[in-house]
Symmetry: C2
Subunit: 720 residues, 2 copies
């Protein structure tokens, strides 16, 4: 059989020509890229491969930046909460910030652009009552109230690109010059960005694909006095503000944003915050600005006969790929880092580009590729988790990054990723243009909806957080489950839940954007959700779904879920309904200990109709309820595991009244899943584990047979 080639990007570097050719052949790679710290030499650029070259739009041009210091990027930042001890208080507002990154902007009149707030009364302090000591970076407030807390919101210059800075500090680059980020909204910078790209395109004829890393504004990443990360929000728009943007915003939207709309009490509009109207307006405004500017750069790339791809990260603010303006940029592709199934789908579901590419782990860096370590272990885990998601919606390419010379020394690893490449191409060949079988259509409901598809619960990209893993498990389970998944927000609910949705999931901590907070006090929203379930829809709640203390209840959909959370007020009401069911469709495959993640305490059944699937420590952790023609399932948390993945799949089937379709493209063993493609009459039986598994498999007609799968095996079966 002829080996299919392509769809693979490898990094390369100087003095590695022959080995690069060898690796390309081994993996069937058709593209070569540079990486942080590496440059491709000409002989490699001449290989029979597409050449990706990283391009930085808003940094790496310090000569320009230093000549235009009034055009650096800016932040609105908040001082520490400072308590007045008498009628006079000084706030050294730079305390906690890294002076090599942040410098107060004294060019724009602080009395106009800054805000001093009494945080105890929530009142703005009259600018007449404060003054500024620019030598000491201190605000002095007079007529203060003793024991009230005050803050200063100040406009600041960003003197160092945060990613560049992170690499600089981490790799101890010493006195290497700091890369200064300049601002696309300013006249010289705007002009320079285009001129410089034109020049660069001319100077780099051998580049096939310009890999924008990325465009204009970095996600919020601020460092503390010790140069350590102080604040990180992968979605944060804080580093995009400037007087010019705010003026333009006012002109466009008809009202002015306050500095407080940006600093948001110090939460900086974290993606966990229920977004304000002002912040949503700002996001929309900035997206339009960024996509229009980015389009001009992409057009230049196209005019030079090259392709343009965007790295999904770093300076990606304003480009959100599920936003309504993204497609206007006209990009050819998007590349992003893949850590698991969720991050794979986060890339592969993007529409409006010709291709998506996942950069797999591990990165070819010395932290993994050192003697005595086996990088294959991480790589295999990465592949198994990503493969589940690829089988639902593939990226069109995969790639790696870092030093190829390092990976090259690990021959077993190179063999393994060669197998991955083959397996990936086999999958693509079969399913790239077909629709996978789905048991049900599931919509995840939160404040962000489609805009942040596959992005809920992320703080810093790829990191574990105590308040997210119990929900992220649900996302990870869904990323490779035989379900069509969409993301909706509360406006979508108000406009009428789309008819084709079988199941809605609402999951998150109370009052966060993921649970929904105040939206559950909106009669239209709760009514529409009740109607949806009552008429036969399915509802799944995880954590504190619909939580908003209002009108006698904490879970506003308590009647639908059949459960509520006791937060103290209704302890006087006796709660008798705590009989645990020993059997239920949803928990049939669940043997042994449950894992619910971070505990949401004191869940109780509101009536005897609620069926309790798990009750311990005087509280419910899993329950189901029938509501009219519809059904609901509740669980306190769903960290990722094969057992929880199965519970979620069964729960979706149950609430969607599709119990009878469970044993269709299904395997009994928790490690095994079946991905089917009716249009091509094939299905894949997939072992998601590192052990050999004997499983009972059910085909599309529900007919049963037994297979023995090798560790991590994917076996294709034809239905013809």
């Amino acid at each position: 059989m002829t080996k299919i080639l392509g769809r693979i990007t490898l990094p390369s570097e100087d003095n590695f020509y022959e080995e690069t050719k060898e690796c390309m052949a081994r993996l069937g790679a058709d593209a070569i890229r540079d990486s942080d710290g590496t440059k491709l030499p000409d002989n490699i650029k001449d290989l029979d491969a597409k050449i990706y070259t990283t391009y930085f739009v808003a940094r790496e041009h310090n000569e320009f930046a230093k000549a235009n210091l009034d055009e650096v990027q800016q932040f609105y930042l908040l001082s520490e909460y400072t308590t007045a001890l008498k009628d006079y208080v000084e706030i050294p507002f730079m305390k906690g910030y890294f002076k090599e990154q942040i410098q107060p902007d004294y060019r724009h009149d602080p009395k106009k652009w800054w805000e001093v707030i009494n945080r105890t009364t929530d009142e703005i302090v009259d600018p007449k009552d404060w003054e500024l000591n620019q030598e000491k970076d201190v605000v002095i407030i007079r007529n203060a109230k003793a024991y009230h807390q005050y803050t200063v919101t100040f406009l600041a210059d960003a003197l160092w690109d945060p990613t560049s800075m992170y690499n600089h500090i981490t790799n101890d680059w010493g006195d290497r010059e700091h890369q200064i980020p300049f601002n696309a909204i300013k006249p010289n910078s705007s002009e320079f960005m285009e001129d410089e790209l034109k020049r660069w395109l001319k100077d780099n004829p051998k580049t096939d694909i310009v890999r924008f890393t990325t465009f204009f504004y970095h996600f919020t990443l601020v460092f503390n006095e010790e140069g350590k990360e102080k604040y990180v929000d992968w979605f944060g728009y804080s580093a995009s503000v400037s007087p010019e943007i705010l003026d333009a915003f006012e002109k466009e939207k008809g009202y002015r944003l306050r500095p407080e709309d940006i600093v948001d009490q110090g939460y900086y509009n974290s993606t966990y915050r229920v977004p304000s109207k002002e912040y949503l307006d700002y996001i929309d405004f900035l997206q339009i600005f960024v996509t229009q500017k980015a389009k001009r750069l992409v057009d230049l790339v196209h005019e030079s006969g090259k392709e343009a791809v965007m790295f999904l990260g770093d300076n990606w603010i304003g480009t959100e790929p599920y936003g309504k303006h993204f497609k206007d940029i006209g990009l050819d592709g998007v590349v992003g880092s893949v850590g698991d199934g969720v991050t794979l789908r986060l890339i592969s579901d993007i529409e409006g580009v010709d291709f998506t590419e996942g950069r797999f782990l591990p990165y070819f860096f010395p932290d993994t590729f050192y003697e005595g370590n086996d990088p294959t272990i991480e790589s295999r885990q990465n592949w198994i988790t990503a493969r589940r998601a690829i089988l639902r919606k593939p990226v069109n390419r995969i790639g790696y990054g870092g030093y190829l010379s390092l990976a090259y020394k690990f021959s077993n690893f190179m063999d393994f990723i060669s197998d991955v490449a083959d397996e990936f191409r086999t999958i693509l060949e079969k399913i790239e243009n077909t629709k996978p079988y789905a048991s049900a259509k599931v919509a995840i409901l939160n404040c962000w909806g489609k805009l942040r598809s596959w992005q809920p619960y992320i703080v810093a990209h790829g990191k574990w957080y105590k308040l997210s893993y119990s929900y992220m498990g649900m996302m990870e389970a869904l990323s490779g489950m035989d379900m069509d998944v969409s993301f909706i927000n509360f406006d979508d609910v108000k406009n009428g839940i789309p008819k084709d949705i079988d199941v809605i999931i609402n999951a998150g901590d109370a009052y966060t954007a993921f649970s929904g907070g105040k939206y559950f006090a909106d009669p239209e929203i709760v009514s529409e959700l009740r109607r949806f379930v009552y008429e036969g829809g399915g509802l799944i709640g995880i954590g504190e779904p619909s939580a908003y203390q209002y009108n006698g209840h904490y879970f506003q959909l308590h009647d639908v879920f059949g459960v509520d959370r006791e937060i103290g007020f209704s302890q006087s009401t006796n709660k008798y309904h705590n009989t645990e069911l020993t059997k239920h469709f949803i928990i049939e495959d669940y043997h042994g200990m449950y894992s619910f993640g971070e505990n949401i305490g004191n869940i109780y059944a509101i009536s005897e109709n609620t069926q309790i699937l798990e009750y311990s420590d005087h509280e419910i952790h899993m329950a189901v309820n029938e509501y009219g023609e519809g059904r609901a399932f509740y669980m306190t948390g769903l960290p990722y595991s094969t057992a929880n993945t199965r519970v979620l799949k069964r729960a979706i089937h149950w609430v969607a009244h599709k119990e009878e379709e469970l044993h269709k493209y299904f395997a009994d063993d928790l490690n095994v899943e079946v991905a089917a493609y009716p249009e091509i009459k094939e299905y894949a039986i997939v072992n998601n584990s590192d052990i050999e598994v004997e499983a009972k498999v059910f085909d599309g007609k529900g007919e049963e047979f037994t297979v023995i799968l090798e560790p991590a095996e994917i076996r294709w079966i034809s239905e013809e």
Copy 2:
């Protein structure tokens, strides 16, 4: 040595004359009482003892009650939350209620006195849009909104006294007549109550002490359709309402209460709710009414030459003994049930009466006194816990209840309670009129303050609740600790924290009356608390102290405690401060596992100044902070244990800057405490355990010596 006698009340019964005399001699008892289900015969009433006779004011007179059914006691009750499925919905508002207890009041115009509420929009439904089917007890709402929830608040008659009902159902009294409670505000009932008491006083010349059980209104206790407890709130005023009371309230206070002010979304103003102004006004109004009425009855008792005591429970609503009107009743004494140290102090701290009496456990009932069981075990536990509290503030008498004939069969038990009686009298003789040594003055801050001294966290009296034990442990620890304890509310804080307070404790779940909820958005309150600590005061927080999501923080006193709780919004802010101290004054005696009770998750340090005493599972459970001249201690929960008691004592010393006074009247062993009485120059070394203990003891000068104490021993030492 002559045996001191008295201060002990025993129950007795018919046909038990000689044995009663014997028991009285054995215990040195000086009073005999009747109990539920027993009556004292004349020969016993002639013994040389004070005779207590139980008297029911508002029940046990069914002939009158049945002739005056329009004067029964009443409730405002709430129907179930009922969802409209179209523009018409029926609410069978009696669903869930026990028809033998509750009957809708159709005498008073429902259109005037009831309230139908759209709970989805929080709007009152126009009475024109609903009608009533009295045959079916159903409200029919027209022009309803589909998928909105509706409730009916209805005025109902109480046809059965709840305590009597509980006894009736529990003891299976079959067709014994139900006792109907009648209402002191109605004209005939009011007159009858006085006339009947006059008659009864005449008819019961041998009664020395009238034991009111109790006055007019029972705490809220409502039963469900199966006759099981549905709603219980030991503080609940719900059973005191009536059209007459509400009219009188309007006349006095100048505004009218809504039914919603009573049913409170179905929470019925539980003691855990931050009380509304309306509810506080109602409490005050009812207390004045009850105390004035009760005074007339007590006056009659006094006129007949007898004494009047009140049982603290059952129909005690409106008499709250720490309220400002209680003393107006003119009672001679208060009797209450003692389950532990807290319930002992709840009685013994009452002012304005000549004596307090604790009814100890176990009750002489067959559930404890059966062959093969040793009632001494419960009795000893009861005594040890109560004794700690007695040593701080003694009740003046103790007693028992139930069937003396049952207890009499358990000779070891009778010996044990004889010893208790002796020990109690010895304590009284020494300390009844002296002030115990206190290491510090501690004030517990919550919404109820002095009014509910020693009563925080109680739902039903004497029962364990999942949401209370982590705080109740703090109360129990304090009940016997060498501290002066007072209870203050937020008005007390606004009026200026009393100068003599060393330490303030704020403990409870967020948004409950015990934590304080919205009061922490009041600038005056947070400023005054900050000032108090900054100038040297001590602050202790347990659970979610000062919690109120507002202006960028969850714990409003985050700066004072040095910790806050992450509820999702500030996950983007890195939290580096998690280094646990291995040594600190507060945890010096703490060896082995900590116990924090119900977990308050995700507590973090707000700065590097916070000192962390316990950090696990990525969160803090115990921390201290210095704030100006003052100090704060935080702990997630403090269930009762000797180890936690010690932590609390040490924490109080530390925040009060009294570390050096710890080793004064102190024992190193956790089981041993020292209670000192400087005025009489004596102190008691007390073994609170059931085992022999060797302890190092420090006297008032800090001089150290070793003692070996028998199980439960109390040893008095003279300092002269």
